[in-house]
Symmetry: C2
């Protein structure tokens, strides 16, 4: 009996009807012989509602109270989905409660203390395996964990993907044989590019972890990149599919499997997909004195402010002054601005900070490009 981690995104649990559907879907997987472990996101719209309430109080409220607030969205889903599975199980005459609700802290999903962008450090699989040994169906809140002080943390937008893959990886590491992970979403797989922008986009039946990571990091929103990183590291095969249509989605597998599995191609595909990210900003720092430790000071300050930097370009002008440009996501722009202004005040008084908004990044992805000219 293989453990099947099934992650249901916001639209998949977006209404009571959808939740009742998910309950049947999970019990069907159990009836087929799999052992489901369910991970849920907040109902679609719920997180936005909570974020909007918070933003009416404070502009950038990232803090432990903010994370505690927005984590309640997944808590609601866990309660409702557990109720629905148990009601459906009773209708099928399966007897007794079979699904049990788990919040991040109850399952021991330990993270660091970077609120709103926490990273999972460890998962206590004993509780989860105990639950599986009792033949229960754990229903787990995605997106959330607990730091060493007992504060509730959240993993950032799309963090439920990461929760699901991390749970699958932890079970695999703990010796559970045959752990698979299904990511249910509102599209039926990963496409060569965004089908809403380009109607000629095609669904990719199989893709390797490395290409998927590139696509995710470059703006494809179907999977959070950290979830793919974890899947690649622990070799957890993913199946990205729709909870609305029971059709095969996209399998994310290792390069070896991609080359040997069904549908393998004789010639390597050069380009797997194209990704675009319209939410980029570029910072340019002018009149920075050159010298040892300057770049470290700049990017250290940005790192302390939890700003994720993407592309960096650095050049030295003829008078020995440094120009440093970098890009980051628009959501980090305010934090970056604050950190750079503080740095200018304390260390580089002459430094000028220029921000350019409204940038997009287009990327072409494919393992085949490594050894294909042109």
């Amino acid at each position: 009996m293989a453990v099947l981690v099934q992650k249901f995104g916001g639209t998949s649990v977006g209404s009571i009807d959808r939740i009742l559907h998910v309950a049947e879907w999970v019990l069907n997987a159990q009836a087929r012989g799999d052992h489901p472990v369910v991970v849920v996101s907040a109902m679609s719209g719920e997180t936005n509602r909570l974020v909007e309430l918070a933003h009416r109080i404070a502009p950038i409220p990232y803090s432990r109270e903010y994370d505690l607030l927005i984590a309640s969205g997944e808590q609601i889903s866990v309660g409702l989905v557990t109720l629905a599975i148990n009601a459906a199980a009773a209708r099928r005459g399966l007897g007794g409660p079979c699904a049990t609700p788990w919040l991040g802290h109850q399952l021991g999903i330990r993270t660091d203390a970077v609120f709103s962008k926490a990273r999972i450090q460890a998962i206590d699989t004993d509780r989860l395996r105990g639950e599986l040994d009792r033949r229960g169906i754990p229903v787990i809140a995605g997106f959330q964990g607990v730091d060493a002080s007992g504060n509730i943390t959240t993993l950032g937008r799309g963090g439920s993907d990461t929760s699901a893959v991390a749970i699958a990886a932890a079970l695999k590491e703990a010796g559970t044989p045959g752990v698979d992970c299904e990511i249910y979403t509102d599209v039926d797989g990963v496409y060569t590019t965004d089908p809403r922008i380009c109607p000629a986009a095609r669904k990719i039946p199989r893709i390797c972890f490395e290409e998927m990571m590139e696509l995710a990091s470059l703006g494809a929103k179907v999977l959070q990149i950290r979830s793919v990183e974890i899947a690649a590291k622990f070799r957890v095969p993913l199946h990205v599919r729709s909870s609305f249509e029971p059709v095969e989605g996209t399998r994310v597998v290792s390069q070896e499997e991609l080359r040997s599995g069904p549908g393998a191609l004789l010639e390597e595909v050069v380009v797997a997909g194209i990704a675009a990210d319209p939410d980029q900003v570029k910072f340019t720092l002018q009149e920075v004195p050159d010298g040892p430790g300057v770049a470290a000071a700049i990017f250290g300050a940005l790192s302390d402010a939890a700003v994720v930097v993407d592309v960096i370009v650095q050049d030295v002008s003829s008078d020995g002054r440094l120009n440093v440009s970098f890009t980051s996501g628009r959501s980090d722009a305010l934090k970056a601005q604050g950190a750079l202004e503080a740095l200018a005040a304390v260390r580089f008084p002459g430094m000028r900070i220029v921000m350019r908004d409204s940038l997009a990044k287009v990327s072409i992805v494919g393992v085949g490009m490594q050894n294909h000219s042109g």
Copy 2:
């Protein structure tokens, strides 16, 4: 510096505007020299929304997933009120975060495992006192606790009152000098009877614990009865007042204080108030064989089903058969029916169960009635 537990009900935190008002109110109390400990209910309408979602899935869903679900209402309030106090403190130039969010399990509010009607067993005051020593303002989720297995439990409707009084009592027991408790609600005090039904109702300036307990147990909804029981047991003075108008509300104090304090009367007031509870049902069990242990079997079964029984009337017919009638709240009716049917099937095959709905109970309350004829 006296510790002042301030409990804000659903309407008091019913909108972002109200929450911003609460934040100023709490900081004003701090500025006057009190040390606030804030306890919050769910925003008005939020618990009903969650209950309604649950009921669309399962008719009587009391279970750990149900409690986990509805506890999220208070979690949202805790996050928002904490954000609001810290934003207001920053505007006042008070520096650094001063309010910290606490869920029931984080504060160690231990309860039994009776979901949806849990009783508080202990509160770990070490964490709370540590927070007070740091001059922080703890913002605590009312209505919720955690059982010995780590499951989230809830205390029943109005349970946030109980949370607040229990926290005040625990602080007092732990040696904190001068603990007061304010209950903020949408009315400006306790009235002689429901002013929406009887316009001649008057606000009671002072009432003793015993009378308040009677009023609360008999249907006055302004305070949950268990909160008054705890207040009486640990001598925690309560002040029931409005968060909309800064006027004196109703002080709930000991009988001694009532007789000696300001506004004490030379003659004892005979009747303090009149309460009505329109949500009663009456069960009558007919054809029950009389004998030792019969009443114990009936009320034991009801107790196991967590049915709260109120008035009991028992009589024996001429043929030695027993008739037992009792009343309970409408919310317990289905549970009572189930327990009695199970009992009839197993032990009293001839027993007939008759339920009468649509009952109300009217009660007249006053300590003075004990020694006043008529």
